[in-house]
Subunit: 343 residues, 4 copies
């Protein structure tokens, strides 16, 4: 059950609805969007019907929804969401095209700064980089941890680029959020519900990658876990699914972009680097992502891919990076969007 | 083992090579390309080495190749192939963007003609339409057979559009080829080797759909079956693969386009209609296909989709069709190609 | 629509029903089972309702069924089918456990005879062996063709074992059936509808392998294509499906056995050789197949696997073969079945 | 790099190795098995080579291994592991067959006690039941949490059955371990590395379910994360993988049992309830699991499946449960194992 507040509802009116629900034994989760606030109710629906919520001040509608996700659905939120990241308020949404680029893993201050300069030169307005790396093998490099976060913060100071970085454990969320402008939740944690809930409570935008074997519905349900804790600043990121095809690391599900846009008001980005796992596919897949209607890209760049500790074979450098830069400047206007670095 | 003939090799020189191979107990398959002829050898490789083929007149090179496909590979055929269809010699290749459109199944002369007019208005230069329909259920409509081929031929006469139509049985190949300008081999026959071989012998271009569960390598090997019988006029068509995702009928493997272009000199088209199985996805997926570098599209249109006997829910009509027409006229030039109907 | 004839219906009564349906413009396919005859109707259902088929002599019931398969369904045929193969009438059905074994490909008379002796020693009552091999690569060994069929016939004469052998082209069905006791349709032809129909018309039992990417429903529909042409002597064979797991060649879908038994009256065998693609898995998977309720096994054996032209790594020999022999003798009685060679 | 200690190595000798590694800047993880202790090293391999570890007292071997998993591999640990659970020291290993049964979710004390009695009557020697339920939807019942753990502890007191229960968050591990005899890690957390590491440190055996889309190698790597933190008391549990087949909830990968046994010394159980998701498949799949060589089963039972809050359609009751009881008593001895409740 969802309570839709009016566009001019006050905080007091929202609080009053929450109080009435909680007093009756239910739980209420407030999701403040740009244009309106939605309150998701969890508990005994029949009990809620006795509360006369529809009659309370500021309430526009009370909806009993059977769809498995509610807060992230377009059903009651037709207008597409724009998420703003960092002090620079970099927009990700329907009018713009946003490039987030950077090294897969933060290794050294020099490598990170150099990658950031490369990213900005390519049109990036967000810096991506991992300090915590979830790795299939316990013997693989797991990231620098907080030291990596400090490097990212220094590079932000130097370049002005807001930071997108991954968090892999619910109990690191506050720490990571104290450095990051946007939290990334990776494909292996797509059903780590404790992490999703923690990310929903910390007050920073979240970039939610699709589980490599998640259906689009499961992906939206994962987003619902975040939204339910009061955070609607969520950007979905398609990054390839696991199939029988082995020519590519994963199979980019390009259809997921229009399908997710049809079902949800959240922005959708595409990660062409992890989808293909091959440098030579990044530019063609980026062009396809722009053409299909994605709201942005998440791309690996590295000054010295041959020495990268993680995912070097897919990181862009030199010529490929210039081709990407050209694509993200020239193509988005043809599809009704401001280019990446004018976003 | 493959014998590469020089660009000015004569038929007699080719025949001489074939004769020497056959006399030694092997098989030789001649593939005449636009610029040169290649002869694939099957049999005892050690025996072939004793034949001194390299010393024969007209022979440029003799190559022992370990790749599972040879004739369709770019390894010995770096230049991309352009396939020409019909008397109108409609090109499908690297410089153009070609739209083949029409009804999934030929039902009546009126429906087919009307669909053909719609197709041409949208920029199509080829008419697609099925007279033989392979259907999962034996109780489903299986197509009109030769009566459908006659309808297609009549509509070609009326509209000038060359015909692409499916053949499902090796022993129908000659009949279908007597009507069609291009034979289509469907996803369920991707490893029907008898059919592939028959299609390779009949002298018409072939549109080879990817098996819904074929790897890219298996798809190229299927093409190799056709090529080995002397026909290199093959166009690959990506049409979605089977995955766990059920929001779409299949998962369009958009990466397959650049991957196939990297491995093979054959043109690659995309079928956005069967990939998604949803009308609302056809235009966005078509745009993605153009942007990623496909050489053309295969699209279902139907004058009355609600009454279509096969696959109505994905057929374009009216507004969607106009959006498609706009995309195939405006976008290809931005990616270095002549638009669909100027091809 | 299906017409169910009484157990004592005469041929004339069946013919009369067929005639009335055909006169009305429809098609009728007669399936004679052990206990009763069923007539499948294809055409205009409303038209059929006007024919008063239910009132005709010998007719027990006329059923309009919405399930996609009818003749192979248990809905109107609750009793499980036993299929009998060859002059020896080797049974495959609910009371027995049947082992079909032999070389993947027929290579020489000696190899085939030796493999047949190995098979019989292991408890096999059917000899499997391929004369026509569908191969992913056109450069791989494709089988001996009719020469291979003659070898199989000679070995049958020598050993008394009925022959199961694959047919890959609709137009070879008569030829293959003139040698074989049971036709095998392989995984790559699971939706080669022309082949399925031809196999349904030739009057020999059919072993129908599941498509490596076919759902159980699609597999039963493929069987329906055979049944619809009048042949209910069909044995289903689970042989592994394509998944992301690469430790095995395919993933044996062991659940498919009870699921298919629940939906269909047809016997279900398991091919542990092609499922796993590894010799060391054949015996454990065979035991699992017996325990889960399969009606038989299809196993590769080869006297000299290291020299096999096709699929040597999975062929049993020596110790493994003795372990298989022990399993197929000792286990079936524990699950209510007569062992393989007492079947 | 792995240091293999002799069977009579003392704790002091182990500590000395660890100290030398740590002093050199590396990390060392001690895994004490039944027969011997193994120390996994993480860090600079070249540096480790300078430490002369092989010359230290108690050290048998120092091995540089390239396999992605080491501690759980059979390469250096040929003998199969038996894991003992609870004060009753219930064995799970190569000589026994162990049944863990109980309700999918703990709902009430009565339901849990009743299910425990059913489980024990069926031959179970371990009680399974979830207090923390990871659910795809945030609106679904998420389990009773610590209240559920208390119910399980009460039922253990009443029935004597050790408890297997799931933990979903790294920071709940200590709490759950304070109640449970064995920690279960579920399919959605198969790559939640923080949780795996925490479970490796708490000193209780771990039941590690395969990720629904994990390869066998990834599953063993997940086990390696647990082992690396010093816990080799790990039981693998195959529970079905995600495929295109929709007749079953997941596809039980029965081959994974012998494949995992071939690669790893850890016991392997099978969960036939979540694999099939259908009550009628539980008994046949259980029989297949016993026959293929599994070390035990994990089965859902519920006194009133129709009222179950989670997964009622697959819970056993009455007749099916008696059939299961019969199978787990009669079949294991035929495959060289003591039956479930004599284990």
């Amino acid at each position: 059950m969802v309570v839709v507040m009016g566009t001019d509802a006050t905080s007091e009116q929202v609080d009053a609805v929450v109080a009435r629900v909680v007093d009756s034994g239910g739980d209420a989760f407030v999701s403040r969007g740009v244009s309106r606030t939605i309150i998701g109710l969890v508990g005994d629906v029949d009990q809620f019907h006795t509360l006369d919520l529809r009659g309370m001040p500021g309430v526009t509608d009370v909806v009993r929804i059977s769809a498995p996700y509610k807060l992230v659905s377009r059903q009651h939120h037709a207008q597409m969401t724009t998420v703003f990241v960092g002090d620079a308020r970099v927009p990700i949404g329907p009018d713009t095209f946003t490039l987030a680029a950077g090294p897969c893993a933060v290794e050294t201050p020099e490598q990170t700064l150099e990658a950031a300069h490369m990213a900005r030169a390519a049109g990036a307005t967000l810096l991506r980089g991992g300090a915590y790396k979830p790795r299939t093998s316990p013997y693989a490099f797991q990231g620098l941890g907080e030291a990596g976060l400090r490097i990212l913060a220094d590079v932000r100071l130097e370049t002005g680029l807001p930071i997108v970085t991954e968090v892999v454990d619910a109990h690191d969320v506050e720490l990571v959020a104290s450095y990051a402008d946007m939290l990334q939740i990776g494909t292996r944690n797509a059903q780590n519900f404790a992490l999703l809930q923690a990310a929903g409570e910390v007050g920073k935008p979240v970039l939610l990658k699709r589980g490599m074997t998640a259906t689009i519905e499961e992906w939206l349900m994962a987003a619902e876990y975040i939204a339910q804790r009061g955070n609607l600043d969520i950007v979905l990121c398609e990054r390839g699914i696991r199939t029988f095809e082995s020519a590519t690391r994963n199979t980019l599900d390009i259809s997921a972009v229009p399908v997710a846009h049809d079902l949800s008001h959240l922005p959708v980005m595409v990660d062409p680097s992890h989808s293909g796992g091959r440098r030579d596919l990044v530019v063609p897949l980026s062009k396809a992502a722009i053409a299909v209607g994605a709201d942005g890209l998440l791309v690996d760049v590295h000054p010295h891919p041959e020495a990268a500790l993680v995912d070097g074979p897919q990181a862009l450098v030199n010529g490929d990076l210039r081709a990407l830069a050209q694509a993200v400047r020239q193509l988005p206007p043809l599809f009704g969007r401001r280019p990446a670095d004018e976003a």
